[in-house]
């Protein structure tokens, strides 16, 4: 169906190619996965096939053969007019960010009908409308008639992605390219979208090029897979085979970095485990203001009656999808957002009643590390200042030199070299910045660190490093971690207990192993079943004799 040969992509004014000599083939009706970490060039490859690369790139070299009714064509040699005919008609593409990928000022129906207008001009308005509604129903969008007239901002992320799929499929293409279609979606929605793509593939006999970084997805729906690293294709083969027995060093590295394959964490030293944190009935409600005088008519219950305990050396994972309130929970515990009700006690002392001065002093013991490495460090300060300033504010260390010593020690613990101190944040990669963030939290010698989705923006291999650093710190310092995440693999690996949240409410709480094996709440079950797990799928495949 599609054969890519020796594809090379370069930026104008740069010698080093971003993608080099990539070759693979996709058969009719198969789901081909292209896997790699960020910067591997997988998205660029897809954009090159569609020839919608940004102007800053040179036209790619190599060949891209597409089989059609009239024979096989090399897409890279087609003129622009011919390419426009191919796009949307014979090859459809969907993208990662459903929120911004639809035109905000056109209705859903208008956007889909445009494809028909371009590629099926023989259909009149009425027939086009019928076909559009048909395809909207096919992607399982509830109430297609109403959705037809709506604007994209009224739809949820999952619904928008379905609209994108509908738009890509309405002209019945032979090939669908999906560039990380589920990465920005919640886990439960992700599972549905993947199943949808798979089903449509079977129904229409369509080929699918699925780009992802998640091996779980590959194991779930992939027929064949190719692994890319720094612009080169390092390995390809049947999905099951590659995952079970990776040939290339890099592939092996990637598989090993999956949380389920990581070596077990060092155990916490024996001894008493004080109860550090007691949260009781925590509530955070935001008023919704309407009307002429802006009176509150309703409340958004971001956190609704959540209670839990946290002991020294323990990792409590807070799991939930977007909008579940887990981030708000973390901030409310720290009083970065003022709770509307309930109590938070640190070592028996109520936190919510402290005045400003006392609160500032108490903050020493509860630290936080954030999700986005790009904005978690003040870009104007050197790392030295970032690390020593909190120490100075809490009178740790007798003088500046002593604080520098302590900063160096902390950097050692997060495996960063000493000359980091004299640099600025923009000189570091995302993973390194997360480590600096952890160092900043450690510098005050806290008892509790709240980790707010600290690995969600990181590649799998970087995530593995961070998780192991956290595990080591927990063992050495008896640190308690409140680990907020939506990644179940990480939860299983790192946490002792877990708390499941949905719409602000606590669905379930208990020991991790227990909750995963025997979930009590329905939502927990639903959540667990939606997570694509490599081993699971491999196991099933092995059982059915496919490996």
């Amino acid at each position: 169906m599609l054969r890519v040969q020796d594809l090379t992509i370069r930026l104008r004014h740069q010698d080093q190619p971003l993608v080099e000599g990539v070759s693979f083939a996709i058969e009719r009706g198969e789901l081909f996965c292209l896997v790699g970490e960020s910067g591997s060039g997988k998205s660029l490859t897809a954009l090159a096939i569609m020839r919608i690369l940004d102007r800053g790139f040179l036209p790619p070299s190599g060949q891209v053969w597409l089989k059609g009714q009239g024979g096989t064509q090399d897409l890279l040699t087609l003129d622009e007019h011919g390419m426009e005919g191919v796009r949307g008609d014979r090859v459809g593409m969907i993208f990662q960010e459903p929120m911004t990928s639809l035109n905000p000022v056109w209705t859903v129906g208008q956007q889909i009908m445009e494809v028909l207008r371009l590629h099926r001009p023989e259909l009149d308005a009425e027939a086009a409308r019928r076909r559009t509604l048909e395809v909207l129903a096919e992607v399982q969008l509830p109430d297609p008639e109403r959705r037809f007239e709506e604007f994209p901002h009224k739809l949820s992320g999952g619904q928008r992605q379905r609209v994108m799929i509908a738009m890509a499929l309405v002209a019945e293409p032979d090939l669908l390219i999906a560039d990380e279609p589920t990465t920005a979606l919640d886990v439960t929605i992700q599972a549905e979208i993947l199943k949808l793509i798979d089903r449509l593939r079977e129904k229409n006999g369509m080929s699918v090029l699925l780009i992802t970084h998640d091996f779980g997805v590959v194991a779930q729906v992939g027929d064949r897979v190719a692994v890319m690293h720094r612009g080169k294709l390092v390995e390809q083969g049947a999905a099951r085979t590659v995952i079970a027995n990776p040939g290339h060093v890099y592939t092996r590295q990637l598989i090993r970095a999956l949380p389920e394959n990581l070596p077990p964490l060092p155990p916490v030293s024996a001894g008493s485990r004080d109860t550090l944190l007691e949260v009781q009935g925590l509530r955070v409600h935001f008023p919704v203001l309407k009307g002429l005088l802006r009176r509150p008519v309703d409340y958004v219950r971001a956190v609704d009656d959540v209670s839990f305990d946290l002991s020294a050396g323990e990792v409590l994972a807070v799991v939930g999808e977007s909008g579940s309130g887990k981030t708000t929970l973390g901030r409310a515990v720290l009083r970065l957002i003022e709770p509307t009700g309930g109590s938070v006690r640190y070592r028996g002392n109520a936190m919510e009643t402290l005045d400003r001065k006392a609160l500032r002093k108490a903050r020493r013991h509860l630290q936080v590390v954030f999700q986005d490495p790009a904005s978690s460090l003040n870009p104007r300060l050197t790392i030295l200042t970032t690390l020593t300033e909190p120490m100075a504010a809490h009178d740790i260390g007798a003088d500046h030199d002593e604080r520098v010593e302590r900063a160096l020690k902390v950097l050692e613990q997060v495996a960063l070299p000493p000359d980091t101190l004299w640099r600025y944040p923009h000189e570091f990669s995302g993973g390194q910045r997360q480590r600096i963030g952890i160092a900043r939290a450690l510098v005050l010698d806290p008892d509790i660190i709240i980790c707010d989705e600290v690995t969600s923006a990181l590649d799998v291999s970087v995530q593995a490093e961070i998780l192991q650093i956290l595990g080591r710190l927990r063992a050495e310092r008896k640190l308690a971690l409140l680990f907020i995440t939506h990644n179940m693999g990480v939860v299983e690996y790192l946490s002792d207990r877990m708390l499941v949240m949905k719409d602000g409410r606590m669905e379930e709480i208990g020991a991790t192993a227990e909750v995963i094996a025997r979930p009590k709440a329905d939502y927990t079950r639903h959540l667990l079943s939606a997570v694509p797990r490599v081993a699971e799928h491999l196991g099933r495949a092995a059982a059915s004799g496919q490996v």
């Binding site: 970065l336 630290q367 936080v368 104007r380 504010a393 004299w422 993973g431 990181l458």
Partner: protein, 398 residues
């Protein structure tokens, strides 16, 4: 602990980016030229000869007629030059320059007192009488207020039209040399630009910062104030101020500053609102840092970027405002000003093109220079338009 070489800080990087752009370089060059002209005006355009040798020996009329403003400017210039090349943090050097400026200003006011009565004709008459053995004159031997009363027929004259006197840019309606007046008017233009914008910045940053950080009732009242000052047509308010309060340079600076702070307040408020949600600010709060530290170390430096850009455009519009007021006849009366000279271009029935071209051109070039600098700053600060030299950080590839 030995300190290792530091990588360039943000300010230095931005400066580097800005200087890369030819527009900024041109603009800065022009401003530098104007600054030199303003500082050395008494040496460039003066009826008082620099040096005279007559029967009593050598003396320098120029030096004896220096005003406190002249000496203060000269002193400030050399102090700035010295401080520029001395070590130390930029902030401290700037503050010590300000302190030095105040000192020099006070000293000048006390010590320097030029004679009150100035007769410009005496030098030309004395030279005609042959009293001088040697004379060293300024390149443009006319002062700004020298109305050439010893020549009877003066009035608006086009450049180089008179046989006996050389006026490169012609003369204005009172007979004064245009080039000389333009040189001396540079001081007013530049100082109004900086001081007025400075006042507006201070007010705007303080109010905007308070609004952005505290929200609530402070924000509501502050926004109403901002809206009021935005909705008043600025020019009209300026006209009202000047017409009712009379004309004085300092008053004009104050008034222009008071009417243009609303833009800066909006920017600072928007930046603070955005920054408050940024992770590193939340992290600073969570680390228990004190409020002043959070405001001045974490929030303000990171929010300065759009304000710097706006300030550059603001200086341009302050200069324009002063020129407009002068043009409408509401500016300074006796002191030279570019706008006032522009006014004279159309006052009589003929079109006096040299009054429009030269002072008008000076206004245009100065405003253009500041706009170029502002544009370059904007491009340098905007992360989307990097010149490609510094690649944006790669996402999370260890």
């Amino acid at each position: 602990m030995t300190e290792q070489p530091r990588s360039p800080s943000w300010s230095r990087r931005i400066l580097g980016e800005v200087l890369l752009r030819w527009g900024a370089r041109l603009g800065l060059a022009w401003i530098a030229l104007l600054t030199l002209v303003a500082v050395f005006a008494p040496l460039l355009a003066n009826t008082h000869p620099l040096l005279v040798e007559d029967a009593e020996g050598w003396h320098s009329p120029m030096l004896t007629h220096l005003t406190p403003a002249d000496t203060a400017l000269l002193g400030a210039f050399f102090l700035a030059l010295v401080l520029l090349f001395s070590p130390g943090a930029p902030l401290w050097r700037f503050l010590s320059w300000l302190g030095g400026l105040a000192l020099i200003g006070a000293l000048s006011l006390v010590l320097v007192s030029p004679p009150a009565l100035v007769v410009y004709e005496q030098y030309r008459e004395a030279e005609a009488r042959g009293e001088y053995q040697r004379v060293v004159r300024a390149p443009i031997p006319y002062s700004a207020k020298d109305y050439l009363r010893d020549y009877a027929d003066t009035g608006l004259e086009s450049p180089r039209s008179s046989a006996e006197r050389l006026h490169w840019f012609g003369t204005d309606e009172n007979g004064a040399d245009v080039l000389s007046r333009m040189i001396h008017a540079t001081r007013i233009a530049l100082s109004i630009g900086f001081i007025a914008t400075g006042i507006a910045l201070v007010i705007g940053v303080i109010l905007g910062g308070l609004m952005g950080y505290f929200s609530g009732i402070v924000d509501i009242i502050g926004m109403r104030l901002v809206e009021i000052f935005e909705a008043i047509p600025t020019l009209f308010l300026l006209l009202t101020f000047v017409a009712f309060f009379g004309r004085s340079l300092y008053l004009m600076m104050l008034i222009i500053g008071l009417t243009s702070w609303s833009g800066y307040a909006r920017y600072v408020r928007a930046e603070f609102l955005r920054l408050r949600q940024q992770d590193f600010v939340q992290g600073a709060i969570a680390s228990g840092l004190s409020l002043p530290s959070i405001l001045f170390r974490h929030m303000l430096p990171n929010g300065m970027a759009p304000i710097l850009v706006a300030a550059s455009f603001g200086v341009a519009s302050a200069i324009l405002a002063e020129a407009t007021l002068s043009f409408l006849g509401l500016g300074l009366v006796d002191d030279p000003s570019w706008g006032q000279m522009l006014n004279q271009a159309v006052q009589s029935s003929t079109f006096n093109w040299w009054m429009a071209a030269f002072p008008g051109g000076a206004i245009f070039l100065t405003v253009f220079a500041y706009n170029l600098i502002g544009e370059a700053l904007r491009d340098a600060v905007d992360p989307h338009s990097q010149s490609g030299r510094s690649a944006p950080p790669v996402k999370a590839a260890a």
